[in-house]
Point group: C2
Chain length 356, copies 2
């Protein structure tokens, strides 16, 4: 049947994204989307880019978008790379920095796309165990590592790793790349972008899909020393000249420029996270400390898979993972306050657990 497939293709274990059901309407708390839509300014900028010139290719270098990002972070345009979602940038980064190196290192609980990229590009890897609080213990990272990557805050735990820890890693491993995947950094963590001027082996990857409310537009960016950006450009230009379409470029420019709206949305999400966290703790859930737009929780007496199923039946999607280390946890995306109230109510009614 599969004789035309490459050996590689036969060996792949593709990533499974959270459900994006097309059939019925759910309260989607399963893929860490922003509950707030893009601002009116952004939507109108996007509408304004719908024109006859869609017959033409986009700028292959997305120069205007890179400029807008450089401007926002007070960096040079040569520090910026953009891609078709941060997942594409991660894929390019694995090829650009991890291919042909010693096995790379990432935590044993982390974004489950990392081992998938390793399989796709035939890159070796070792995982290092997180401590009992799901925090990174630098001593546990293989000293012969060919490269290090982790999300900060980590996925799917939400646990944040401070800048001093990041600098400690950079100082301990000056000869290999550290990639910090900051998809969730805007919900309370401090970005390590400020460290890129000091460490030319640090690449920071961010996305417009979470804090910037543009998951539907597929835009991510990376920030680092110009030499690292050059490597990413070499890979990108060996793969697809035009990964970002004309409209996505405009939408992302709009989103990075509308800073007030972004700040307001992020702070409302942080508020709602605090509310949900308190409510769940009152119900005796164990809630990991989160600086992301989701909570990672479990309960000493309740089965996570069963809560997941019952919530789904009642029209609420949360995320449950089959990884044995975390299969009694649920990852719950933070929505609007009223959605969190609804969720709490549903959990109470499903589980029969209430607080005093």
């Amino acid at each position: 049947m599969n004789k035309y497939w490459s050996l590689l293709t036969k060996k792949l274990s593709p990533y499974e994204p959270g459900e994006q059901p097309q059939d019925r309407k759910y309260l989607k708390l399963n893929t860490n989307e922003n509950p707030f839509p893009p601002s009116e300014e952004v939507l109108s900028k996007i509408r304004g880019s719908v024109s006859d010139s869609l017959r033409l290719y986009p700028d292959p270098n997305s120069t205007k978008l890179k400029s807008a990002i450089a401007n926002y972070y007070d960096l040079d345009i040569n520090n910026i790379f953009v891609g078709n979602g941060s997942d594409e940038i991660l894929a390019f980064s694995f090829l650009a920095f991890f291919k042909d190196k010693n096995p790379i290192s990432f935590p044993n609980v982390t974004y489950s796309f990392y081992p998938v990229y390793c399989n796709l590009f035939e890159i070796g890897f070792n995982t290092f165990p997180l401590d009992c609080n799901f925090s990174i213990d630098i001593e546990k990272i293989d000293t012969n590592s060919g490269g290090i990557i982790f999300p900060n805050p980590n996925a799917p735990t939400g646990v944040y790793f401070g800048l001093s820890g990041i600098e400690e890693i950079l100082n301990k491993f000056p000869d290999i790349m550290l990639i910090v995947d900051e998809a969730y950094i805007d919900f309370g963590g401090a970005s390590c972008i400020e460290l890129i001027e000091k460490y030319n082996n640090l690449l920071v990857i961010q996305t417009f899909s979470k804090s910037r409310s543009l998951a539907g537009m597929r835009v991510g960016f990376a920030i680092g020393h110009p030499n690292l950006i050059m490597a990413l450009n070499r890979v990108k230009n060996s793969f697809n000249s035009y990964p970002l379409d004309t409209i996505a470029i405009e939408g992302a420019i709009g989103a990075i420029e509308d800073n007030d709206y972004f700040v307001t949305c992020c702070s409302q999400i942080v508020e709602a996270r605090k509310y949900l966290s308190n409510e769940l703790e009152k119900m005796s859930f164990h809630v990991l400390p989160s600086k992301a737009n989701f909570l990672f929780v479990n309960h000493p007496k309740l089965d996570a898979a069963s809560i997941y199923r019952k919530l789904k039946e009642s029209g609420i999607l949360v995320r449950h993972f089959n990884n044995p280390i975390i299969d009694n946890f649920l990852r719950i995306t933070i929505g609007k306050k009223e959605e969190m109230i609804l969720l709490v109510k549903s959990i109470k009614s499903i589980t029969g657990v209430d607080h005093v």
Copy 2:
């Protein structure tokens, strides 16, 4: 400087797309874009998709778009794959079907991205020489080939290879994949999509960037046996869950549904090609027979690079390649009739060549 780069990255020779100048306005006849914009229906469908739901991820399977394409070609949705431009699909195909195989085969004059993918994914290749008319001679294809790929019509020549020739290849090489890259098929050639029911080793790749006037939206598709589509999905899901954004999906659906507009645009381009071809031949240019939306031409007495430069100075961009086999040729995209009249006038004034 580059110690953080992978060895692979150091060895890459990235593809160079045609110029997309952002500084001044040119008559762009260099990247085979459609001179006609997307139809009003398509633009309004795109505008209609600009909504709050851009905060959500797109459907990772692009099911509605696959259905529209399946419907158009009277095929099953399992015969259809979609990607972020046909370049992304080509990249996935090289991994899915050519990786770990014997060196693959493509013509010595062809789309110059193919060797770039081979370098990126460490796939061996051999080129086979075209005959003196730039046509494929099946006898010249390595009988131990691990896979075959070519554009039809070929790029950058525009020369079309008939379906009987394609069947001859499929019959001669039943154990390896044949990928036919039909980016330019809608300008007068017959698609080999009809052969996919008979040959389960045939993958046909098309794009919305040329005949469908949507280069700015980045959408391509592939058609083949469900087993081949499955392989592409495995690779895609190991690379990026959501390569197509919400708006691009809607734009492409609009474009495939607006068939009348598509047919009208294509036939006007075929008309303009005929006009330009005649005019150039009157000026003693050698014009290869083209079924694409471009002409590949040279002149016994005039230097192609110099015509390219002078046209650029006068505000017209055409494409000149540095490949020594074709460095005295120009590739000229077919525009609207009035643009072709302007081009002819410019060439006459630049070269001093006129017809009697």
